[in-house]
């Protein structure tokens, strides 16, 4: 595939990851960070899928499936924790 496509993908996803990281550092609340972590995980998912698309291999497809299945558990458990603190 065209190397320009690969370059654009790296720039776009890299910028998205950096923006999510800034939000992760800034907060201000734990829930903001949970949202940022969700976002970061989604960017990683997109990056794994993009790499498989560019190099045309199927090695990482099961990784995608596993990440998509358990990805939401992180923020769900954060919510459980902060809810218990509040009550």
């Amino acid at each position: 595939m065209n190397p320009l496509v690969g370059g654009a993908v790296i720039v776009l996803l890299g910028a998205a990851a950096v923006l999510a990281l800034i939000r992760l550092v800034r907060g201000p609340s734990t829930l903001d960070r949970a949202v940022a972590v969700d976002m970061l995980l989604a960017v990683v998912l997109a990056a794994v899928a993009a790499e498989a698309t560019l190099n045309r291999h199927t090695t990482t497809v099961p990784v995608l499936l596993a990440l998509a299945l358990v990805g939401f558990l992180g923020s769900v458990s954060i919510v459980r924790f902060s809810a218990r603190e509040g009550d």
Binding site: M1, N2, V5, A8, V9, L12, L13, A15, A16, A17, V18, L19, A20, I22, R23, P28, S29, L31, D32, A34, V35, A36, D38, M39, A42, V43, L45, A46, A49, A50, A52, T53, L54, R56, T58, V61, P62, L64, L65, A68, L69, G71, F72, S75, V76, V79, S82, A83, G86
Partner: protein, 116 residues
């Protein structure tokens, strides 16, 4: 061969659109003023972006069993992300100091919530 080239081109378009949406979601995550608004970016452009990237991968791989797996990836995304969104949104609204920014109209807070 022509069909293959066409599918590759469509795959590149899907991939780029999906990555652009992920980038826009990142911008929104940083720019929006309060937690609930930020969650909109994770719930919408991010989900559509991932679906497009997955579609692009399916168009590029073009084999039955992999497409089956990718359909499952898309399905799990669509069912699990709203669950996380709802739980986080619920928790945000229940925080001691409401970090929802300035709401124009707050029907939940007006009626029953003693904190406002």
């Amino acid at each position: 061969m022509r069909a293959g080239e066409f599918a590759d081109a469509a795959s590149a378009v899907c991939l780029l659109t999906g990555c652009a949406l992920a980038f826009v979601a990142g911008v929104g995550l940083l720019r929006f003023p309060d937690t609930l608004s930020r969650m909109h970016t994770v719930a919408k452009p991010q989900v559509l972006g991932l679906l497009l990237v997955t579609l692009g991968l399916g168009l590029r791989l073009r084999s039955g069993i992999d497409i089956g797996m990718l359909v499952m990836v898309a399905f799990f995304q669509l069912t699990t992300v709203p669950v996380a969104t709802h739980l986080v949104g619920h928790a945000v609204y229940r925080l001691p100091q409401l970090p929802t920014g300035d709401l124009a109209i707050d029907e939940l807070g007006d009626g029953a919530d003693p904190k406002r």
